[in-house]
């Protein structure tokens, strides 16, 4: 046995990484003459101690769950999908078309159709890079990132020239009809006596995200397709020998991944803005990569990591509102967490693993 116990891998490594990131962030805040303790308590206070703060934290987390799942599904087949951003943008277009052109009697029907529309458009956007990878060997990292730019350009064209109401300045669609308004947490959990989640954008699509977590777990570990995806990811040649078609797995995996990324738009477009705006994705597609890395490509891990990043986003907003810490440094703090939990994972893991093994040897 040359590995450390699972609990250390899943819990200890991320915790130590987070601690390191927090220490560095504290240094950054100290360096510009603010108090790190005050800043941290403001973040916790604003993001976790008020129900409206939770409303924002979970709203951001919903986006990150979808994009994190998208990246992790692709990663099980060793495909690195960094096109979540573009797929989510197109997903937004799918949601907008469904909401604008079909008169829905009730939101419960609309959310199902919206999710299907979003997943369909997102999946379609992932199809071309997937095909190029499977058939032509064009590297998926390159093609998906290029497709992000094409998506932005396409969306801009559609919004400015086709969907924008006449005379409106904003490159955005008209407002969706009231019938497709998704219940927010405020609508669901507030009573007249105790208003909860006031004004916060978290909405019913959070539960859609939880459902997606469950389905992804079922797919990857409990279905034949999931087995094929993992087999293909572990060894291309072994999978081929076992009769698994690499073309099929590549394309299908990317379709699922793109669909998941696209479904993020249900939250931002249908749940929050209630119209399609130009930059509805705001980098959530890229945060999804960090979320998947930190969550070890497991739905539970993705869920927890997504909530952590939601906290960072909402806490960052509170910092921007009530302190003089400039926006750029808030991004630095968020980036440090991504760096330590995602990219520099091995920096913590390897010494820790050595420590565990050394401890075990001594006992033996």
């Amino acid at each position: 046995m040359d590995r450390m116990p699972n609990w250390a891998d899943a819990v200890l490594v991320p915790l130590i990484s987070l601690l390191l990131a927090a220490i560095l962030s504290a240094g950054v805040i100290l360096a510009i003459g603010e108090s790190p303790v005050d800043a941290f308590s403001l973040m916790v206070e604003g993001a976790l101690m008020r129900s409206a703060g939770w409303g924002y934290t979970l709203y951001y987390a919903t986006n990150f769950i979808f994009t994190g799942l998208a990246v992790s599904v692709a990663f099980h087949a060793r495909l690195f999908n960094i096109g979540g951003e573009g797929q989510a943008m197109l997903g937004g277009l799918g949601v907008a078309l469904v909401c604008l052109y079909i008169p829905w009697p009730h939101w419960s029907l609309a959310i199902v159709a919206g999710a299907v529309g979003a997943a369909l458009f997102g999946a379609l956007w992932a199809l071309v890079p997937a095909y190029l990878q499977a058939k032509r060997g064009s590297h998926i990292v390159i093609t998906t990132i290029m497709f992000n730019f094409i998506a932005a350009a396409l969306l801009n064209y559609v919004l400015v020239n086709l969907l924008r109401p006449v005379g409106a300045m904003d490159p955005a669609t008209a407002r969706f009809p009231d019938a497709v308004h998704l219940p927010t947490f405020q609508d669901m959990f507030s009573t007249a006596a105790t208003p909860l989640f006031r004004g916060a954008p978290a909405n019913v699509s959070f539960f859609l995200a939880l459902l997606a977590c469950g389905l992804v777990w079922l797919l990857i570990w409990r279905t034949r397709l999931g087995y094929e995806i993992r087999a293909f990811g572990h060894s291309d040649s072994a999978a081929r020998y076992a009769g698994i078609s690499p073309v099929r797995i590549t394309v299908v995996t990317m379709l699922i991944s793109g669909g998941l990324a696209g479904m993020m738009a249900v939250n931002t477009t249908m749940g929050e803005a209630e119209r399609l705006v130009m930059n509805a994705t705001e980098g959530a597609g890229f945060i999804g990569i960090a979320v998947a890395l930190m969550g070890r490509n497991h739905p539970i891990g993705v869920l927890l990591a997504a909530i952590l990043f939601g906290f960072l986003y909402q806490g960052g907003a509170e910092l921007a509102l009530w302190t003089n810490i400039p926006r750029e440094l808030i991004v630095v703090i968020q980036a440090l967490v991504i760096l330590f939990t995602g990219a520099l994972d091995n920096m913590v893991r390897m010494p820790l693993e050595r420590a565990f093994l050394a401890g075990r040897k001594r006992r033996a």
Binding site: Y56, Y59, V160, G167, D170, N279, A280, Y313, A317, A320
Partner: protein
Amino acid sequence: MTLMQKFLGAAATLALSAGAALAEPALIFDLGGKFDKSFNEAAFNGAQRWSQENGTSFREIELQSEAQREQALRRFAENGNNPIVMTGFAFGNVLGEVAPDYPDTKFAIIDMVVDAPNVRSVVFNEHEGSYLVGMLAAMASETGTVGFIGGMDIPLIRKFACGYAQGVKAVNPDATVIQNMTGTTPAAWNDPVKGSELTKAQISQGADVVYAAAGGTGVGVLQTAADEDILSIGVDSNQNYMHPGQVLTSMLKRVDNAVYDAMAAGPDLETGINVMGVGNGGVGYALDEHNAQLVTNDMQNAVDQAAEQIASGDLTVHDYMSDNSCPVN
């Protein structure tokens, strides 16, 4: 009522009135960021001027995401900040929802009309100002070809381009106006490198005056124009100082005045629609010591005459936004 209750009540009243007296105004910058040397910075300068003159402070936030628009508005309103000023048309939709929830708070929005009893909407006739600098560009150009570099391709920027083209053609009907947009995403507001590339491309097509209506991207346009020894035109703030003798003029959009006025009015802010055009000094062109030798008396007279005609209504500059098309290009 016991003594204690009275005491508590009085304390509460005192706290409330103290809160109201301390209500500082708040300023919300759009995603482009505070120091874009252009639109947002003009707003910041206006607020800064107000706070220095009165020795008071104001709250401010630079947004990071779309969802923060509503959040910032609500949090400031709940905190008692009054008035709350925001820069950018993108707030329109959100403000329309939030404003009715806080009837005692005054809001001021720039570049957009929001119809609510507690909102002041400040809009600028950018096409008029662009017309004036277009005339200057045509008069200063020797090649008969001038350029326009926009930021993100949205109707507002096409409005700038259309006014500019009309001004150019008014002076020289045979002139060519090359138009380029920097990009299709909000990143186009802050991409000086792309701005520089576009400027070089326009120069190779013969342009010798380039007008940048592109936020932070314009910094690259002005720099390259100066490096390549052609003239440029700045936007929103007076950018003549950035390359003295190389910036022909700047299309002024007095966002700073709009913010200053709103903050100076405080909680008594008058609401309604506020149109800032050439007539009331809301837009215009910049003339200072940095471009004095570039703008001849003849040029100045011609432009001032046009400005008077626009102000009096004798000359109408077509507004792209009114019908989504431009009579010249």
